[in-house]
Every structure is written in structure tokens, then in C-alpha cells.
Amino acid sequence: MSSVKVYVSRDSAAQAVGADEVAASLQSECARRGLTLELVRNSSRGLFWLEPLMEVDTPGGRVAYGPVTPDDIPALLDAGLLDGGDHALCQGPTEAIPYLARQERLAFARMGITDPLSLADYEAHEGWAGLKRALTLDGAAIVEQVTQSGLRGRGGAAFPAGIKWQTVFKTPAAQKYVVCNADEGDSGTFSDRMTMEGDPYMLIEGMTIGGIAVGATQGYVYIRSEYPHSVAVMNEAVAHATAAGYLGNSVCGSGRAFHLHVRKAAGSYVCGEETAMLESIEGKRGIVRAKPPLPAIAGLFGQPSVINNVITFASVPLILARGAQFYRDYGMGRSTGTLPFQLAGNIKYGGLVEKAFGITLRELLYDFGGGSRSGRPIKAVQVGGPLGTYIPESQWDIPLDYEAYAAAGAVVGHGGVVVHDDTADMAKLARHAMEFCAIESCGKCTPCRIGSTRGMEVIDRISSNQDRAQQVILLRDLCDTMVNGSLCAMGSMTPLPVLSALNHYPEDFGITAPSEQAA
């Protein structure tokens, strides 16, 4: 009889709540009882409130148990864990868990199912199908597929990927580059981290398709230093993919070259801005460049460069494998496809929810998230990272789509959703936004470098009621300067959380009189 397969995730968030200890306890207890099992350290399903999650292969599919502690193992084995036996921690068949069953997983289709570094697993689950198709097409046809899919940059700016690729494709140069921005510094986001740790070959495949399409033979993945696990897994995956001929001088024997390098960042948030990232990869301080020239024309080392976020590249293999129309059929309006939303902060069921554009925040917060973790009313939700707006309940029914959010003065960004309950002090959070900008500003432009420090001071005066009415006018004026006078999104978007806090929660700033609220 072959041994039973049991899955315990190796995702760093699962490890952070004890997955390694659970795996060790399972193995030692099984050894003690003379039970044999095959332990697979898979990627995470993204149902983080159930981590450490343990899944057991049964004839009826995988059965889930979670959250498991090392001390639960003996009782779980007594209850017939290896046959999918019933226990208080049993969640039933994994894929029937509503949180997972209601999702539309395209980029995260393999997540939680495969062993991240197993090439056999990747191949068995539609891996490399997009690259193989791309190798039968010429560059223009690959770019056309990406354009037709409607895929837009998932890092936050939502620029159409196909147009960017087209520009690089058409710009003649002896050396072009493909650069993946994996400097996922936004609080409340972890989809890039999960992808790199959990399905690294998907990112490699997407970048390789990009290289083949535009004629770039060198690629870089720029990964933040706060993600040491991602750096390690990507390095290992690049080595495996190179050894297996998916990267190198002749990708899949096609005679076309693509080499991939992993670059570890060094803890600078602004290096998530693409031109600061390029400076950093070139070995310099991460100072933002003025645009133009566009990086698509003069990017890394001054050469034409495709720069996209992890999830943008990760979406490409499926688009090539199944066709642009398949991808286009998801989403709404000009926001086609899906977005991996990340439920974070004070939320009961935090995790990864991949859905087509058009879902509302209320659905994410309650149908998936189950409300606040503290059980208190939700007060504010920051969507799109630390530079995104705080969204009050009156706006929770707006469909999550780039245009609808922009019309409301908000941003979808990288899909991070950070929940705050009614104990949140919005003036404090507004001050934090300014403080964060002051810490992380590259210093090149004045509105960002100095405006952020002045912003903290003004908010402090508002909070301590020194000329409050005047200071509120000053804060709005300062924000206007930052929005319109900054070189990049760091300075120009920091006012979004500040002003949304001020506009929607004036009482937290001590403002009650309507005259003080006038915009």
C-alpha cells in the first residue's frame, strides 16, 4: 500500500504561525506509531486564518484540518487523520471551503496544490504551456495576445501591459531587458510574496515570454530584502529552470536566449517606483528618475526595458496558453481579468481572494472576510496600500474596478485591503502617512522631501488644537502642492490617505463645524 500524502504549507506566513513545528510533530508522532506518510511542503491556499493548514489526500480529494498546533497531532491521528477522519479541526474537503470555492483563481490556480519547486508538479498543472505556445509565434503576435487580453499593470498604476510591451518591441537596441518589480512594500499586500514562494516557475515563465516577445535576452527580478524566503525560492527556481533548459542560451531548444537574475533590494520603499528600482539594480541610490524618457525606451542601463509587477508577469502564461479572449471574459469594462485581493489588518478571515474585477469591498469584507477580527464595527478600509485612500462605509458598494475607483478618488492599486475597526484614530493614521513618506522619500523633489515633514507638523498642530481651522486649510494647501508638484507617486499619493481621513472622519481631527470642513 502506498503511503498517504499529507500537505503542510512552506509559505513563510504559514511558517510564521508554526507550520514547521506542526510538520515535525506529525512526522515524529507517525514514526512513533509506525505509520508511514508522504509529507509534501506545498504552497499556501491563502486561507491564512486556517494556517497551519494540514491537508490529507483521500479517494474523495483533499481534506483540510486547521488551524493545527503541534499538540493537536496525537488527537488528530487518533481521529483517523490519515483517512480524512472527523475531528473538531476538520474543515471538510478543501476545495469545498466556501472562501476558496467562491474564488476565480487564474494566477493562483496552482496555489496550495503544488510543491513550489517541483518542475514535475508545475508541468502537470499546465506549466510551460504558455511559453511553448509563445515559441510558435513571432514577437508581434505574442504582444498582440497580451494587448488583446486587456491585461493592465498589477503593481498599482494599471497601465496596459500590451502597450508597454509594444513600445519595447518596436524600439531597436542591441540589448533589451525584462525587469520584474517584486519590491512589494505596500502594507496589506502579499500576493507577490505568495507567488514567488509558492509558484515561482509561473513568474519565470511569464518573464521568459516577455523576453521572447520583445527580444530581450536578460531579465532581473528585484525582490525586497524583507522577503528572504522569496529570494531563496526564486534563486533555487531559477537554477532548476536553467538546468532543465527553460532558461539559458536556448529556451526549450528554440535557439532563443533568456537569462534571469535575482536581485535582492535593501529596504527602500521608494525602490518600488520603477525608475528608482532601475537605479538600484544599476548599483546606485534609489533616486527617482524624471520621465521622459520612458523606461520602455531608455530603461535599465539606458536600454529598452519591459517593467512589470509579479502578478502582471504571472498572468501572462495563462493568457498565452488559453488565449486572450479567455482572460478578457473575466472582469468588467476596461478592467479585464482577475485581481488577487489581499484581506489584511483587523479582519476575521484574512487571506488571498482572487476574483474578477467588479466585486465590491462590502462583499470582500463580509462575505469573505467575516467582518473585523476584534468583533467591533469596521470604521475605515485602506485599499491600495499606504498611498491608497481610506474608504468609509458609504463607498463600500462601489465595484472594484480601476475606473470606478478612480471616479471616487480612490485607487485599487495592488489589491491590498487593510481593515481598521472603530478604535482607529484617523488623525494618527494620517500623520503616519506623512511620517512614512518622510522616512522613505528619496529626497529628489521638494514637495515630497519637505512636504512630508511639514505635513506631520501641521497634523500635530491640528490634533493639539493650535489654530486648528487655519492649519486644516494649510494641510489641504500642502497636499495640493504634493499632489501636483511631486516627481513620483510617493509624494503625489501620500495626500490620498491624509485627505480621505480628513474628509471622511473630520471628528478625529477635532473638526465639527461645517465651515472647517469645506474643501
Partner: protein, 163 residues
């Protein structure tokens, strides 16, 4: 002109030179070099800067500028155990400020400082990517999520006495 590395302990100098050799010819290789030097020596000592500058044909100012620009790079060694507490928005929504206050008290050192006996360095970080399980900390290279002050004490106790 004296050898730029003359004041530098010879084994450290050898380490820096071998790192430079390993990355020779790598385009934009300064960050990988600085990472390797810091991983090997615990920090990027001031005496390493001219050696690296010479090796890459850069000015000392350029190398110094890069070392001091990035939060990750240290010019002095950290304490024996580095404790990082995330204070980004998601963790703030789940009690990160109280956790940091607890950490300062429990470790006996302020944020961004190393305890006088060199046992701990306590740092603030902005996002460890554990946001579905906030608040999060990193101790050495090990992550801990869904933290509480009680769990913090257990984690620190499990490290033994680094003093």
C-alpha cells in the same frame, strides 16, 4: 599612497576582496557586493568602503552614498539578536504600537537601538508580508505572526540568554 585597506583587519580585508572577485564584471554589482559583505562581516565597516570603491572604480562618496541610503545596510554591527517589529498599517490595525511598547520594555532597549550589553537590537520595519496574520515580527531570520505580548515573551524566552 598607502594601501586603502591598511587599517582594516586582514581577514576582513580578505573577505571583502573575495566578495569583489566573486562579483567581478557583474553589471550594477554594488548592491549584491554590499549584501555579501554585510552577510559575512555583520555590517559594512567604514574601512571596507574605500576597498569596494577601488574595486569597482567608483568614488568613496558613491559607495558611502549607497551604503547610507538603504535602510538594510548597517555601518556598525547589530546586537546578537535583531528583533524587528512591523509597524505598517495592517499591523497598526492589530495592536503593533502596543506590541512595540511591550518589546521595548521586555528587551530593555528603545526602538532603533541596540541594548548596552549588545544582546538585542530592536528595529521598526514597514511590512513583512504577513498582513493577513498581523501583527508580525521577525527575530533573526525567523518570522512570527499573529503576535501578542504573551507570545512575544515566549519567543524571546525560547532564545535563551544572549547577554
Amino acid at each position: 599612497m598607502t594601501d586603502v585597506g591598511s587599517l582594516f583587519p586582514s581577514d576582513s580585508l580578505a573577505t571583502v576582496r573575495s566578495v569583489l572577485e566573486r562579483h567581478a564584471g557583474e553589471p550594477g554589482g554594488l548592491l549584491p557586493i554590499l549584501h555579501d559583505v554585510q552577510d559575512a562581516l555583520g555590517c559594512i565597516p567604514a574601512d571596507a568602503v574605500p576597498v569596494i570603491a577601488k574595486g569597482l572604480n567608483l568614488s568613496r562618496a558613491e559607495v558611502h552614498g549607497v551604503v547610507t541610503y538603504y535602510h538594510h545596510f548597517r555601518t556598525e554591527s547589530a546586537g546578537r539578536i535583531v528583533v524587528q517589529v512591523c509597524r505598517a498599517e495592517s499591523c497598526q490595525a492589530c495592536g503593533a504600537d502596543a506590541l512595540m511598547a511591550h518589546a521595548e520594555k521586555a528587551l530593555g532597549c528603545a526602538s532603533h537601538h541596540t541594548r548596552a550589553d549588545g544582546a538585542y537590537t530592536l528595529e521598526t520595519v514597514y511590512c513583512l508580508g504577513m498582513c493577513a496574520l498581523s501583527p508580525a515580527i521577525m527575530v533573526g531570520d525567523k518570522l512570527h505572526a499573529s503576535m501578542t505580548p504573551e507570545k512575544f515573551d515566549r519567543v524571546v524566552a525560547s532564545l535563551g540568554n544572549p547577554a
